[in-house]
């Protein structure tokens, strides 16, 4: 970070620098809180867990990835399951598939902490499997579901296991938490969410055409400080939007983007912003660059 950037970064307040991170944590813990209202305080607004739930005794929700595995295992879907899965699919199809990863999934908190520790300890990136591996695992989970007749990924899925452990009682789920944490800390930088988790891969596919996007709206103002790349859990998604020139789109269109908004937080030059893809008008080349 050069001095000019550092000086401008200092003028941005704490809230502006951490805004989306704070919103995100609020959302993650708030959602968990809603699920815990019942078991802890007897207020049953929500029953169930991230796999399937019932809201206010009326609205059913179901994880479409579960529904898909269930279908692969040749179980018919009930009307409730169909409605629930459709509602969830519709929501993430619009706001961004991997919004699930960064705004909802409890494992994200664990892997973010692991990453934070890793940065403090200056650990090398370690094992870097190809990012496509998660899509292979996604395919594998469907094949195993079909062959075994059971919902395969659910046997080991840390996402639901962690949440179920919190909402229904612990069991040995702490071992899963520890395993994912240690894997991300010692074995592979952002390894679980960034390379392996098939749940994230599923939601990435789901959100391919999502409306809510990050845009490198003021990319001409970029000073190449690299802060966004350093903070982004999927830095490869930034390049086309930020480094593109002329009429190349400023929208981050890669479905691996989790819409976490950290790039917006850290950019001292306010390059990034959230926008709606269908209404986004910012792709025309600019004659002037904003000051």
């Amino acid at each position: 970070m050069n001095e000019a950037v550092a000086a401008r970064a200092a003028t941005r307040g704490f809230f502006k620098r951490q805004r989306w991170l704070l919103f995100r944590r609020l959302c993650q813990f708030g959602l968990l809180g809603l699920f815990l209202l019942g078991p802890w305080f007897g207020v049953w607004w929500v029953k169930g867990n991230l796999a399937a739930s019932l809201w206010f005794d009326v609205i059913p929700l179901e994880d479409p990835y579960f529904a898909l595995q269930s279908l692969a295992a040749t179980h018919h879907l009930t009307r409730t399951a169909l409605i629930g899965a459709a509602l969830v699919a519709l929501f993430y199809g619009v706001v961004g598939g991997r919004v699930y990863c960064s705004w909802v999934c409890p494992v994200n908190v664990i892997t973010d902490v692991a990453h934070w520790c890793r940065e403090r300890l200056h650990l090398p990136p370690g094992w870097r499997p190809q990012r496509a591996l998660r899509h292979w695992l996604l395919g594998m989970s469907l094949v195993v579901s079909a062959l075994s007749g059971g919902i395969a990924w659910e046997l080991v899925n840390p996402v639901t296991m962690v949440q179920r452990a919190l909402v229904f009682g612990m069991g040995a789920a702490w071992a899963i938490v520890a395993a994912v944490f240690l894997f991300d800390l010692l074995v592979s930088r952002r390894g679980w969410c960034g390379h392996l988790c098939p749940v994230g891969a599923f939601y990435a596919v789901l959100g391919q055409r999502a409306a809510v996007r990050v845009a490198a709206h003021e990319r001409e103002a970029c000073t190449d400080c690299g802060d966004c790349f350093a903070v982004c859990p999927e830095p490869q998604v930034i390049t086309p939007a930020l480094r593109g020139t002329g009429s190349a789109t400023r929208l981050v269109l890669d479905s691996a983007c989790t819409n976490c908004g950290r790039c917006i937080d850290v950019c001292a030059d306010d390059v990034f912003k959230f926008t709606l893809r269908p209404r986004y008008q910012g792709d025309a080349p600019r004659s002037t660059t904003p000051s």
């Binding site: 994880d63 229904f168 040995a172």
Partner: protein, 223 residues
């Protein structure tokens, strides 16, 4: 072919790398798939003491249908049902109960079945009397107080929600000794486990077992 060679050499390093990466991923993923499959197989062999809620499909179908959401657990008024924690010897997150801890109280409106969003607990079960969670069997003929004449116990008989139909106390004679034997009528028993819960012997003398283990099919074992 000549044209093809000109535009792209056969030993295109990019293509090679892509193929190699594909092969690596496929190899790694097959291995994980194999492990997952065998773990699933193991998890599908449910231990005998863990009973499924009323209306549960046959275990194989159940594992493809149940999404482990725990809505049946939430709506069980007696806290009978639990979700299997990770590390338990049955599929993680699936609902079960242990009759000796808390049996099924056979609610008339079957709230667990009503709560199930996926028909893993089949809505076809409308009368709890048709539930088939297992079948009670007197396994401790040598420990049962009543059979062995230690006391005229009847605990299992009195516990049964459909007594005189699913379980009766049959008078038997052994030489000069007269005793009463708790006798389960399998076609009536739902496997709710109240008898097992109330049995006064340290290790229950009457236990609910999977029906497949105790049914009497005609035919011979081909040994």
């Amino acid at each position: 072919m000549a044209n093809h060679n000109e535009s792209k050499p056969i030993h295109d390093p990019d293509r090679r790398r892509a193929l190699m990466r594909g092969a690596q991923a496929a190899g790694a993923v097959s291995l994980v798939g194999l492990l997952l499959g065998s773990y699933g197989e193991q998890a599908a062999s449910r231990p005998i003491g863990a009973l499924r809620p009323p209306g549960a499909l046959a275990e194989d179908d159940f594992l493809g249908a149940c999404v482990r959401c725990g809505l049946c657990v939430r709506d069980c008024p007696y806290d009978t049902l639990k979700l299997a924690p990770f590390g338990a010897s049955l599929a993680t997150g699936t609902p079960y109960f242990v009759a000796r801890d808390v049996p099924c109280y056979m609610c008339k409106d079957i709230p667990c079945v009503a709560a199930c969003p996926t028909d893993a607990l089949s809505k076809q079960l409308t009368d709890i009397r048709n539930a088939d969670m297992g079948v009670a069997v007197v396994v401790g003929t040598d420990t049962c107080y009543s059979i062995n004449g230690i006391a005229h116990c009847q605990a299992c008989y009195l516990a049964c929600p459909i007594k005189d139909e699913a379980i009766t106390m049959e008078m038997k004679q052994d030489g000069k000794r007269v005793y009463f034997e708790p006798t389960v009528h399998r076609e009536q028993c739902t496997g709710c486990g109240k008898c097992e819960k109330d049995c006064v012997v340290m290790e229950a003398a009457i236990k609910v077992l999977p029906r497949a283990l105790v049914r009497h099919d005609l035919g011979l074992h081909s040994a």
